[in-house]
Every structure is written in structure tokens, then in C-alpha cells.
Amino acid sequence: MSVIEVSGLTKSYGARRGVIELDFAVDAGEVFGFLGPNGAGKTTTIRLLTGMVCPTAGEARVFGHDAWRDAPAVHRQMAVVASDPGFLGELTVAEQLDHLADLRNLPAGVWRPLAERLELEPNVQIRKLSRGNRQKIGVVAVFMGAESLLVMDEPTSGLDPLMQREFLGLVSEARAAGRTVFLSSHNLAEVERTCDRVGVIREGRLVEIAPMQALIGLHWRSVNIVFAEAPDADAFDLPDVRVVATSGREAHLMVRGDVNPLVRRLGRFDLVDLSVATPDLEDVFLHLYEPTAPDAAGTRTAEVTR
């Protein structure tokens, strides 16, 4: 069952582009990563999902409710943290979190275990906190309830590595509890480690949407081989395998998708060394953001073997 269903979703701000004809769905219990550089349309998409802005065309449905027209009904099942939440500087952390808990019909102090886990001091005025500690309030706020859908826009920006690891743990626990997570992030390693599927937005359009492993698997891997003896010239004449360079007993290849045909072919040879560099999400992301996305491995060698 889809928790989020977006079809033909378009938002323009006058002549300014927001997002254009987005189509995607997020299933219950899924952790969905939403990637894109600044200005690509990530925050606009989140504002459309949270009912802060009205679509120009298309619709976003959350738990079957129209995200714009039935926003309060959606919000009863959704917890949201924006990229730079405007907490009130004059309140203490405890007062701010109790207020937000109150608005969400949660008991006072529900946030305390999470605050302790993230080492967030509750009795300090928010205006005296560092950016990272203010960001912790957002993380605590989004996880403190029992909402089925968590929507997060850059939730870990400003967090130190230890707290980022705690955040990843919280996301894993949310997934284990069957909660759905919609995570917009610049932190590609974080998305790679937490998300089941990823959508990549570029200039307002969704350019890629796929399961994480498929997304990475569809891209070129770099393979370096050292043979006991120099191989034949046609030894790597296989589909989706390209020879980047050969030098005597060494070969540098690029392979896309299924690696088994290459592994079987290599079985014919006596190998001294073999290394396969799997592209990470950053490689994929950079590829998708190239001005043009070429198919030929050779033109992308530097990127993939980075």
C-alpha cells in the first residue's frame, strides 16, 4: 500500500520553476531518499506533501488524503522536520518540545528519552544553542511521536558524525517499527546507508527513481586485473564490458550491471590480483547531474573510477 502517491505534481511560482510533473509513490514501511542539489525542487516537493503550498497541477495524496485540501488529516499521521526549523529562541528546549508535543496531542516529556540519547540539554534557551544542537531538536521532534510517516528535509545538516550515526539508528528503528520515512538529504552516504529507494530530482523533474541497489548496480564498475600471463586481445569481448586500458598482464575494464559473465570469463585465466570498485551513490548522483548523461563507459571513466 502506498503511503505517498504523487501524480503529475507541478508547482510554479509565477515564472519561476518549482517542480514539474512529478510521479512517484512511497510504500508503507519504506525509507525513501530524495536527492538533488540546492534549488532542484526538494523543499518544494516537501512543502507540497505537507500542504504548505498548493499544487499548480497534479496532486499529492498522503494516506489517501489530498495533501493540500485535507492537510490537518494528513498531519495527524505525519511528523515533519524542515531543513532549518525556526524554533523560538526565547524558549528552552524542553518548552519548545513540549509545545510541539502538545500540538501533536502527545504527552508532555515524551521527548525526554530521545533527548538523552542525542545528548540534548533540555533546560537551555534555544538561542544559546549551536546550529547542531538546534538541529537535534528537529530530529527529536520528528521521532518523538508515533506518526506513521516521517518527512525530513536535510535533518542531519549540522550534526556531528556521532549524532549522524545515532540518526541512522533512529531511521533503522523507525523502519523496523513499520514507519515510512521520506528523507531529503545532501548526505549521500547517509541516504545510501538508510534508504530502500531513491528519487533524484534535477531542475524540478524526477530524473531517476529506483531501489538503491539497482540504482548503483545499473552504473559502471571499475575492474582492475593483474594476470599471471598477458590475456588475448579478445578476452573481454562481452556485452556491457569495455576495455579502458591494457598493459601487458594488467587490464582496466568497466562493467555495467551483471558481473557474472565477466567473472565466468575470468575463470579461464590465472589471476594474480583482482579489484572491483563499486560506484557509490555519489558517483550515480554526479552522473545524473552531468550536463548530458552519456552511455559510453569511456567518456565516464574518470567519474566512475574516482
Binding site: 498548493c54 492537510a71 498531519h75
Partner: protein, 267 residues
Amino acid sequence: MNARVLRLELRRSRTLLFWLALTMVLYGGFMAAYYPTLVRDIATIEQTFKTYPKEMLAAFSIEGNLSDQGAYFNAYVLSLVWPIVAAMAGILIPTRMVAADLERGFLELSLTTPVSRTRYLVTAIAVQVAAMAILAAATTLAIAGVLPLVGVAIEPARYLVVGLLAFAFGCTISAATTLLAVRTLSRGIAGGLIAGALLLMFLLQTIAKLVPDLSAISYLSVFRYFYPTPVLDQGSVPAGDLAVFGLVAVACWAGAVWLFRRRDLIG
């Protein structure tokens, strides 16, 4: 209305309200304490005023017999300091809850909870109403409370009506600001437009008093409908003025709610 939002917003308004109310209590109380002295020296004071330019007297609403409570308190408190205090509260509170909180990202926190936009803005309006009631009460109670202490008899009902008129005047400023804040989503623009409009209306009212042929332009001024002198001196009830304030305020607030429900909220 949402009680939790109301509680927080009243708390956020308390410092502003405390200082504005204290200003009105101290100033209103002082002018009330001074009133018997003015009555005693009225001949000298009126002689002095005769040397002043009539434009200045018109601008500061110094008209009629100043030894009457209505003329005196209108000139020195109600048409002088109250509009400034009402404008400060009527601009700062509505623009904070709509435009400033949107700009700082706090509005998004509140509106991504089960609290609907309508309930949020109705609560914002309730905060404005409460603030204006506190300030109007502080002003009139300070005057009506001190006068008996200095041996001046008062008609409490007349001060009650003046308090109501002052409250309605302040609510009208608040309501217009709310509508503009929702329309522009900018604290600076909404506040600036309202402050500029009040200044313009003050000038229109002054010109209308000085140039009889242009007296009709005073109908465009909010200050025309805020005239406490006859209320205190003759006991008249300004039902028409109250109705104008009420209609404008309700229309502006209703328009603000209508617009707030339908517009994009982007800081």
C-alpha cells in the same frame, strides 16, 4: 481556536503588552492626576493656546473646553498616545504571528501538526483581541481610577464606552494589519503600509478640520470615527463609529482567514 497556541502566543506577547500597558497606566494616571490643576488654571492655559497656530491645535485635537473631561483626555491621552500604542500592538502582534513566524520557519512547525490554518489564524486573532482589550482597559482604568483619587467625579459608564471605542479602534488596526500580513507575508511591508496609512489618515483628518470644503475627506480617516470627547462630556454612545470599526475589523479578519486558508505559505 487552539488553546495551546493561544497560551504560547500570549506568553510571547507579555513583554510587549506589559510595557505598553505600563506606559498607558503611568501616562494616563499622570494626566488624570494633573487634570484638577488644569481646571484650576484653565484661563491661563487657554490664553496660552490662543498664541498657538490653529494647524497645530487641529493636529493635536486641542479643541473645545479643555476643562471638560472629554476634551482634555481626548487631547492629551486618547487622540495623542493611545493611537500610537494601539498602532504598535496592532502592527507588532499580527505581523509576528503570520509574517515574522513564517520568515523564521516557526509557522511551518505549527502548521505541519494537526492544527489547521483556520484554527491557527483564529487563535492569532484572539491574541490580538486579548492584547487590545488589555491595553484599552489599562488606559481607561488608569484615568477612571485616578480621577476620583484627586477629587474629580466621573461617570463610570462613559469611561466604559470610551474603553470600548478605544478597543474597537485598536482592533481595526490589528485586523487590517492581519489582512495585509497574510496578503504580503512580509512583516516589513505589512507594518510599513499600515503605519503609512495611519499617518496619511491622520493628515487627512487634520486637513479636514482646517479646510471646511474638504471636510468630506475625513470619512476616509480612521481617526474620524475615534472621537471620545462627546462620549465623556455628553454621555453619547457612538454606535455608528463602533459599527464602522466592528464591520471593518470583522471584514478584514474574515478576509485574512479566507486568504490564509488558500495561499501558499513560503518564508
